[in-house]
Symmetry: C2
Subunit: 348 residues, 2 copies
């Protein structure tokens, strides 16, 4: 066997291999331990040595080997985003991802996407991550008031943040959009347009923000003295066709609503289609207030009233929260709520 350069023994300057602490140690004439400590600004290292080591490290482009660190310390430098892969509707997922990556861009963290399908127990991917120690922090969405995943991670002591609040009397980081305020503002805007028989197209039943939305809707209804037209057969995670058909059905009845509040842009497309299927006209016979995460709804129908929800911001906030918790901050301080924009009409 012909050893190519050298035995990769103590004398390693051969250029092409990725530098390690050993390389640095050899180059500086110091011990590996000293180099390791110098790089992380340990106090017992002389100021000059520290500077020297850091200079050389930068020069040769030293980057710690993730596997080495992880094996030794258990620190993965990984954040996992746990996603349901069957959000059939419009995808805000990329925005969340972009938001997360924005925050972790200048940290050593990598983002891994951990999927689960609807058929699985949502706890499965979380259990996997925790059991295999695959991440230092986890972000979950589709949060429920009593969320087994949050409970599980709290028990195991692994940092996480939820997109959406829980209601278990337990404290943990979260970011949420204020859907109570959204639904309220929506109702008030419709009332201001003279609408007083309102229907709500809700978030998926079971998720926390379903409750906030429903409550915000109900409270504002009594505040403005409008009444609800029940539309419980529909929620935003149903298929476009379902929503459209149900809406058309509803709109052909005598006691049809004259206003809709919709929790998602894709559902809104279906609602409008249903309205028009029934021969009615948006803006004349009925108004619709909808949340949206991109600016597209006003291109669709300018009569729509929209409220913007910024998922990129959500991603950023969630990432900051998890990193904060990992960094030792008090989880109770890592909670944020995003206030809806005003209800916006089309502006030419």
């Amino acid at each position: 066997m012909d050893r190519r350069v050298t035995k990769k023994g103590d004398d390693d300057t051969s250029g092409k291999e990725r530098p390690t602490l050993k390389t640095l140690a050899f180059m500086t004439g110091l011990g590996v331990t000293t180099v390791s400590r110098a790089l992380k600004d340990a106090p017992e290292i002389g100021a000059e040595t520290r500077r020297r080591v850091q200079l050389v490290a930068k020069q040769i482009g030293y980057r710690p080997n993730r596997a080495g660190v992880r094996l030794r310390t258990g620190k993965t430098n990984v954040i996992s985003l746990v996603l349901n892969t069957e959000h059939e509707l419009m995808s805000f997922v990329s925005d969340i991802i972009y938001g997360v990556t924005e925050v972790i861009a200048d940290t050593p963290y990598h983002l891994i996407v951990t999927p689960y399908s609807r058929s699985q127990d949502p706890l499965d991917p979380v259990r996997y991550l925790v059991e295999t120690g695959s991440a230092d922090g986890v972000i979950i969405s589709r949060t429920q008031p009593n969320d087994p995943r949050a409970r599980y991670m709290l028990e195991r002591g692994i940092p996480f943040a939820t997109h959406g609040r829980t209601d278990m009397g337990l404290v943990h980081p979260y970011h949420d959009f204020d859907n109570y305020a959204f639904a309220g503002e929506a109702v008030r805007a419709l009332a201001a347009n003279g609408r007083n028989r309102l229907a709500l197209v809700t978030p998926p039943i079971g998720l926390t923000y379903y409750r906030y939305t429903v409550n915000g809707f109900a409270d504002a209804l009594s505040e403005v003295g409008a009444s609800e037209v029940p539309f419980n057969t529909v929620s935003i995670d149903q298929s476009i066709e379902q929503i459209r058909m149900r809406t058309a059905q509803l709109m052909r009845r005598k006691d049809r609503p004259d206003g809709f509040v919709s929790s998602a842009a894709a559902a809104t497309l279906a609602i409008v289609a249903g309205i028009e299927d029934a021969g009615l006209k948006l803006g004349r016979d009925v108004d619709v207030v909808s949340k949206q995460s991109s600016e597209l709804l006003h291109l669709f129908r300018r009569e729509l009233l929209v409220v913007n929800e910024n998922f990129r911001l959500a991603g950023s906030e969630l990432a900051k929260a998890v990193l904060g918790w990992i960094g030792g901050a008090d989880p109770g301080t890592l909670q944020s709520l995003s206030t809806p924009s005003e209800v916006l009409p089309y502006r030419g």
Copy 2:
């Protein structure tokens, strides 16, 4: 680090720690080496021993420590998806991600998302991945005919797949949508509707699929004897407002087109808005054929003609291609092209 109770010596059955090869070795009474080999079906292990080890491993839920494997072998079991985080327009990114995760779900692979912003050199993230050995395989998009990233990875010998083809005389795995066929079909459909002055809203200039689209468009134009109305000021990665304004401008001219071919759904919304800004009517004054990745365009305007592009499929194909290359397959056999659907009119 203050870890555990006992010294974690040879006697480790204490239940709560994650099992390692050492645990298995102790439980089976074998050596660590034997266990390691038995788990990967090495030939020099007795059949019974093999079965015994694998049984115990399954029973206690042994999972290899990724850091250990990675440190020893360099194998990361990671696929990286490299993404530009400034696709302002409608996001097909989540579909690709879902497609990828579908394929790697029952493999040991994790998916990491590596972002870069428009201001950066697209080569940066790829260089980072290769230099730090952070992934066994890479998926890139926004592929160019002469793509420095593909060239770089070929030089370094790291498996990858591109979303979109290159044209460098180098062979590598890819998946692509047949945009030549798409543009051609679109033109023929418009011609069949009696349209013969057609404008093309192109993909971003510089990307490979720009060329295929333009060529497909041009070839079909001469085939059907229609003419092109130049619209070079616009491409799909411009802002909605830009596209809308330019379209309105164009449509107010006397020599306006009577047909559009649009390479992206979000751009199509803007085009239609622009058409209507100019006081014209879709289906009467002008027809539009558009690609879409979700079924929403027909809700927007039923007069639209659509062609579906399946990004989830693209994600799956790309993942299969990378895994195939990692597994030693011939890169030349890992190329696939997705044929567009027919041009579809609205069906009630």
